[in-house]
């Protein structure tokens, strides 16, 4: 398997997916023996009249393409905010480069630990808690408690004017039954499709496989119903119409997708017989 040096941005993206929300994704191509598969590593730009916020930073290896896409979308304005959902390379790896490019940028979110990883950006860190809002001008961004997470300092975000919930590693899934990588993957040509546009629907076993490896704890905790009931409650409460995960296709039909992810999460639990 020959590794690629630079991640590619699909020509289908960037794509506007809701009012003021642009889906930017770099796709990491994996060259298998008989085919090429892609892994989404998305960032989302939410733009208002006077400010904009970037949700997740993308992987450092896709910086050149992210930087030029931002130039195109911001059209000469500075990026005001960045919201890293949690400190893993695909989500926060470009923070130093963003601060270099936009020295006044405010890094908002659960900023615990970042002073240890990126001491040079300490002046840009602005801690937020769930419920805190950022005003972008005719568009808001609200920090939301992450209900599915891998790290303790993961946060979700919501853009009320657009109805989009940003869920980081939550709701990442693959939809190709024949693919079996640990990361959610898709085929070339599907990079910019929403779940409503996909030809092949998601299979429960794919959701189970992904959940069991990326959300490793699902094999020990038998509480999928409680988790997804809370998620549905949040979706109702906020008025969410679509869900934007970092590593999967943009979810335009959350009501159809949620039961499949929930069933997959349940199936990832390993110790059914051990329970009373």
């Amino acid at each position: 398997m020959e590794e690629q040096l630079v991640e590619t941005m699909s020509s289908d993206l960037p794509r506007s997916v809701a009012k003021g929300v642009t889906w930017m994704s770099s796709c990491l191509p994996f060259h298998l023996a008989d085919r090429v598969i892609h892994g989404h590593n998305s960032t989302y730009l939410v733009q208002g009249e006077h400010s904009s916020i970037l949700v997740d930073t993308g992987n450092p290896s896709s910086w050149p393409i992210i930087s030029s896409t931002l130039d195109e979308l911001l059209d000469g304005r500075e990026l005001t905010y960045v919201f890293p959902t949690h400190p893993e390379l695909p989500h926060t790896g470009n923070l130093p480069r963003l601060v270099e490019k936009y020295p006044n940028i405010q890094v908002v979110g659960d900023t615990r630990d970042y002073h240890l990883f990126y001491p040079q950006i300490v002046p840009n860190l602005h801690a937020k808690v769930p419920g805190d809002k950022v005003d972008l001008g005719g568009q808001e961004f609200v920090v939301v408690e992450a209900l599915i997470r891998d790290l303790p300092n993961t946060q979700w975000g919501f853009a009320p004017g657009a109805g989009v919930l940003f869920t980081a590693d939550g709701f990442c899934y693959m939809h190709r039954p024949e693919l079996d990588d640990e990361d959610p993957v898709h085929l070339p040509g599907e990079c910019g499709l929403t779940t409503g546009e996909l030809q092949v629907p998601i299979a429960v076993e794919n959701a189970a496989f992904f959940t069991g490896s990326a959300l490793y704890w699902a094999r020990f905790a038998n509480d999928a119903d409680a988790v997804y009931d809370r998620v549905l409650h949040l979706i109702d409460e906020l008025g969410v119409t679509s869900v934007a995960p970092t590593h999967g296709n943009f979810i335009s039909n959350i009501r159809d997708v949620e039961p499949i992810i929930r069933a997959g999460h349940k199936r990832a639990y390993r110790y059914e017989t051990a329970q009373p």
Partner: protein
Amino acid sequence: MFTSLHADKLTVLGGNIPLDGRVSWVPQGATGFQPSNAYLLTEGTSNLLVDSGLAVHSEEILDDLAELIGEGGGVSIFFTRSEMDCVSNLEPIAGRFDIERLFTGGVINPFDAFDDLSRMALRGRRHQIDAHRTEEGDSLARAAEIEIAPGRVLQVESPLLRLLPTFWGWDKETGTLFTSDTFTHGVMDRPDGQRIIDSTVEDTTTVEQVAGHLYAKYEWIPRSTCEPLREWLQDKFDTLDPEIIAPSRGCVLKGRDVVRRHLGFMLDALTPQLV
């Protein structure tokens, strides 16, 4: 400041993290100082660094490394996890030393954090330690071996007790088990405190403290089926009988009695109804 754990064979280096409410992986309200650890395994002129510490401690880690392996010296690196507390000094180390080999798992290549030129130069030095995946996303039972030098190997295994893709290392030569983000509970009152808990120090660790640190990061433990985790852990320690537990943060636990006592704390913490 580095500390030798085993003459000419194993050294711990790194700084301290002030617990001031800005750290996510410790229990709420935790105070004091938590050591952040990188370990240098040495065999003759060969060196293997286990994790690279925190960027905020970059200068002291690099200076210590220069003293231990010589300015610009060659070193291989093994990352127990691709998380920032383990990897965030990779780039400065690459700038000052010769990274001979890099051992990591998962799909993220840490060299991707570099600019194009260095990435191009370094990519081929990465060794994927979990190249073969099993059907259900397990990475268990495919022990890889990292040869530090002829006759000295670090055995690598993916533990059952983990959060993200994680690898434990076992150095038979020094009896050291590298446990990454578990057994991280040893903290110090003062920044210049004792970063090693051995038989010479009064050990005030409690099971509540061990559980607090474990649950801060592994928040799912209290609501989980833990028997398989306890069984796995007990079996691991029975088989290896380690002399040293070397976590990527928290005090080093040294000496068989200390190791056994802290294993007991951990097994109780993995029985949440006891805590």
